[in-house]
């Protein structure tokens, strides 16, 4: 009982700290945290389809890109306000997921993964080619927001923070109800789930749409935050890699795993980046390899039992040839 209590207490303390943070942290750290929140949302929403439902999408960056581009196009070409752009982007992503879910969600395991990878590449190509609307590989610039830089950064900080809280709440709510159980049953054994009365196609679509929605939201906010986007930047497979890695680091199929993973990863990144600038990206790869070999259940699973070296080595013993 006390363990759970500690969990909630530390959560509340953490939230309070994060809400007060812009007051005393430097602009640099505010930016870092904003980025952490953004990736936390993407990891958490990736986790809904991949961790809970068992369908690992390797192309979720496509929603980030679509959200970003929709926001930009609506703001620049159609002179819509920011909020309209962001919401429209998220809705577009949801529809994209629903429509493409029809063919793609029928595939299983890594076939699904490959297809989503292809989807991201194909969409990136499409967006690049529709030059008249998207300005192609040149990218789109958004007007810089006038005003005090500190206040603006704080605004985006809270925007991302807010979206992160909503995503966490949604995931938590979902995990305790029929929806969450349906997802988990599908991941465990889709055929058994079907005969037990679960309409897998329907639930998988919901999972992917939810992850599309949240990812699209932060994509839109990101666009306005950085004021410039281009296809290579926002449809980047590296974004999907990060979502994946953070989820695995923290623990797939758990509510807080991806969040924990996002924080750990970004802070590790900052540490490494500031000292070994060039090594940064290769380090990602090494980290993925290490996580898969030693702790495929992520940090959350490790925390459930006792942290031990022998546990990590046991994984290798089980899985080696």
């Amino acid at each position: 009982m006390s363990r759970i209590k500690w969990k909630w207490i530390s959560l509340v303390i953490g939230c309070v700290f994060l809400i007060m943070a812009p007051l005393f942290l430097s602009a640099y750290w505010v930016r870092v945290l904003t980025s952490v929140f953004m990736f936390a949302v993407m990891a958490e929403s990736w986790n809904i389809l991949a961790g809970f439902c068992g369908y690992p999408s390797f192309g979720n960056a496509v929603f980030f890109g679509l959200g970003a581009y929709t926001t930009c196009i609506l703001m620049v070409k159609l002179h819509q306000p920011f909020l309209v752009g962001v919401i429209a982007g998220a809705i577009l992503c949801t529809i994209y997921a629903i429509v493409l879910g029809f063919p793609i969600l029928r595939l299983k395991g890594h076939y699904f993964a490959i297809a989503t990878l292809g989807l991201a590449e194909a969409t990136k190509e499409l967006v690049t080619n529709l030059e008249k609307i998207t300005k192609g590989s040149e990218g789109i610039s958004l007007p810089i927001i006038p005003g005090d830089v500190k206040v603006i950064y704080a605004a985006f900080y809270f925007a991302m923070f807010g979206i992160m809280i909503v995503t966490i709440l949604f995931t938590y709510w979902m995990s305790k109800r029929r929806l969450g159980y349906a997802f988990q049953a599908i991941r465990a054994d889709e055929e058994a789930a079907l005969v037990t009365g679960i309409n897998a196609a329907w639930y998988k679509t919901i999972a992917w749409s939810a992850s599309a929605f949240f990812t699209g939201l932060v994509g839109g906010v990101y666009a306005y935050w950085t004021a410039f986007i281009n296809p290579e930047g926002v449809f980047n497979v590296g974004i999907t890699v990060k979502m994946l890695l953070m989820t695995f680091l923290g623990g797939p199929g758990t509510v807080f795993g991806p969040i924990v993973g996002a924080f750990i990863f970004e802070f590790l990144s900052e540490l490494v980046w500031s000292h070994f600038v060039n090594v940064h990206a290769a380090f990602l790869g090494v980290l993925i390899v290490l996580v898969v070999i030693f702790m495929p259940g992520g940090v959350m699973k490790l925390m459930r039992g006792k942290l031990s070296l022998s546990k990590m080595l046991a994984n290798i013993k089980e899985n080696r040839i």
Binding site: G54, P56, P103, I104, R106, L107, K108, G109, H110, Y111, A113, I114, A115, L117, G118, L119, E121, A122, K124, E125, L126, T128, N129, R187, V237, V241, L244, F248, N278, V279, A281, A282, L284, G285, V286, L287, I288, V289, V291, V292, I293, P296, I316, E318, N319, R320, I321
Partner: protein, 292 residues
Amino acid sequence: MVILQNIVNGLLLGGLYAGVALGFSLVWGVMNVINLAHGAFIMIGAYVTFWIYYFFKIDPFITIPFSMAFTFLLGYLVQKYIINLVVRAQVFMVFILTFGIEIFLMNLSNLICTADFRSVTPSYSGAGINLGGILVPYIRLAICFIALFLTYLLNLFLNKTKTGNAIKATSLDKEAAQLVGVHIGKIYTITFALSAAVAGAAGSLIAIIVAISPYMGGVYTFKAALIACLGGLGSIPGVIAGGLVVGMAETMGSQFISPGYKEFIGFVLLVFILIFRPEGIMGKKFFAVIKH
């Protein structure tokens, strides 16, 4: 006339693509590993060729054995000391592992070689045979021939040597192969090393006609996946058929639809195949069973 030229181009490209996909299909068929790092080995082979050409001015075709040796060794080490540690885990975990290896190799290469595009341009670059109005560049012809020759060699190896037969046996039934004394771990290592070697060769060939960069691998991995699925996993004739189809589709698509939609066409094709005929063109059943 234009059509004929395109068909020829498509076929020549297809031969190369068969070489690109060969190792990938083999590894998937034998070990049920979808090697996302495949493109990285292609990239490494390309760079080996580039650097040898750059420093020693040796004809790029001659560098192929060197790049193959290098990637063979690298593949051997990767399989033995990394992938073999997790290969019995869920297929998806191994998938992510190879993803991590790809990221690492790509970025390491970026560190060492920098992100500038490099080219290998031998003196005979533009020349070719003229067959009644259709231009067949020497280079493309040689590349296609070499790729198909390597495919033939691999096929010979698989069918006529003891190790090759052991590999085939492993792909058909791992447990049965073990029962007759096949050491699965060693077979996996050899298979992956061979796959990497062929990928390296493909990379060398690619370096001769295309500008290379550390991040070029991803596109080829996807193409390899597409061809492997099209042709049926682990099936060498399937890889050739798949390669030709993709080569043709790309060339025709570029000419008659638009050059900018190559990935799109590939993607649509892939989804189609996976949904409607996952056994591929050749219709062989998957050796690989998808276990979650």
